[in-house]
Amino acid sequence: MLIQRLLLNDRGGMVVLGLVALIAIVVPVLNLAVPPESPLYVSNFTVGLLGKFLCFALLALSVDLIWGYAGILSLGHGAFFTLGGYGMGMYLMRQIGDRGVYGHPELMDFMVVLNWETLPWYWQGFDMFWFAMLMVLLVPGLLALVFGWLAFRSRVTGVYFAIITQALTYALMLAFFRNEMGFGGNNGLNDFKDILGFSLSADSTRAGLLIASAIMLILGYLACRYIVTSRMGRVIISIRDAESRTRFSGYQVESYKLWLFVFSAMLAAVAGALYVPQVGIINPGEFSPLNSIEMVVWVATGGRGTLFGALVGAFSVNYAKTFFTTFSPETWLFILGGLFVMVTLFMPKGLVGLAGRLLRKGDKE
């Protein structure tokens, strides 16, 4: 019954999730078990790249949930992603121990440089994995709760909401750039050694992180499906289409928006936490408003309001980004902008909508 609801009624989603599962199984095998000389060998670079894409897909999913279904355009989801990343980064920093450049048993290198004597209170507890993961969920969730409560209660919607979310992520970026914040200033957190006792430079750890990302993506997808196929999901769609009708039908629109926003922020934070050990660094640049806008472009390109479209968008746009930034870095931003315009004008339902149209046409002939 539940499987029917979550998967079987969602053919596009089944295909995309199938591909994700395939990546999670095949890529690690081809990377670890196949000798490098073999043509089937998948390089470490590709493993890292795919792991990153899986995190981006999870992030795109969180944006699609809030934008595609509730019609709330957040241009600040990068903030939640990055906060999640910092949570994981803090855990990884604490794992370094006395292996840092200055060999201090407790303090991070950047704290030693700043002549700090003791570990700040907010770094306490991050040496425990479970605590760090709890914070990865709680801190962005709480931020989204407070921010969303203020915004939705005042009935801030549409472009105004987009602008203040943009301001939120920008403000966080400026704050995290400051050395006194205690998060490593503009260098951020890096030079990680190991996670849960596994060395981050080992191939098997990287493969494990890729698998973990794929699993979280699938779980996140199913959770989103559970929400959008429930009665709550239909309430959310009706808020998008006719907010006052929903209100006069007896729904407290604000609390629906708020909880969806909080859930979406936590999903983004999980994506950030998985992203950081795979790229090996987190710095305030991730808060940059441009990143948050890019996420929206992924979802628009893939097709919003479908969930699996977000995954398609995240993969295809990021693949294009990797391709173009390798061969002609200076053109990428123009291509990104052009892509957004093209999609808005010619493919309002994104790649997924286009594929659906082509499939239907094929059926008719």
Binding site: Y226, R231, S238, D241, A242, T246, F248, S249, G250, W259
Partner: protein, 278 residues
Amino acid sequence: MKTTEQLRETWRRDQVFDFVQPPPAFDSVVDTTHGPILYVENISVSFDGFKALNNLDLTIDEGELRCIIGPNGAGKTTMMDVITGKTKPDTGSIWFGQRIDLLKRSEHQIARGGIGRKFQKPTVFEALSVFENLELATASKKNVWYTLNNDLNGEQRDRIDEVLRQTGLTEHYHQEAGALSHGQKQWLEIGMLLVQNPRVLLVDEPVAGMTGEEVEKTAELLTSLAGRHSVIVVEHDMAFVRSIARKVTVLHQGSVLAEGSMDQVQNNPRVIEVYLGE
């Protein structure tokens, strides 16, 4: 001075303090022992100095079908906004039954508590099917967690079937609401009010843009509702009002100009003056 007045008010012997009684709740039976279900008392609303409602007084009896007419700008829609909690009035009070102060409730509470509202422009959830539209409107717990984990029960589904029959939409059950005709959307919206099991229905221009046949059907539907619900209809179409009205209230410049049967109202010289000019 003010304190003494307050003291005197508190010490009045003929009043029963609210805190002595259990707090009034929407889900309990609305106290209509004195007849009326809705009291609109002395309501004034102004927007930037323009008085949309000016000391409006209106009482609606239980089970009554009341038509409200008036020229453009008479304050009809503002009155609905105030009753449903969308607009807060500057002065006055609105009571639902004897004990529930509507001004202290928010829109969704008022809607859950039994006051349903149909908008002037038909507003349905276009991306959802007819059934899903009714499903969303159906009276049930409406908090986030409950709707995330629970579907409707059999009783609620039966109620939806009943309303589908009442509004003649049974065969459109699976259709997307956006694909319905204008008249069908109006009926669907009325149906969405009905599944809320409201005590009072506020219906804003239900027959605007309908064909003659559709108007007739709507009139039939609305008159069949009176008795079980109190129905307040705001309408411009005089022929339609004549066909359903028992009691008519004429609004003019934000207050009641005349009240009575259609004939009384139409022969009222002040009404004639307002409608026909000098």
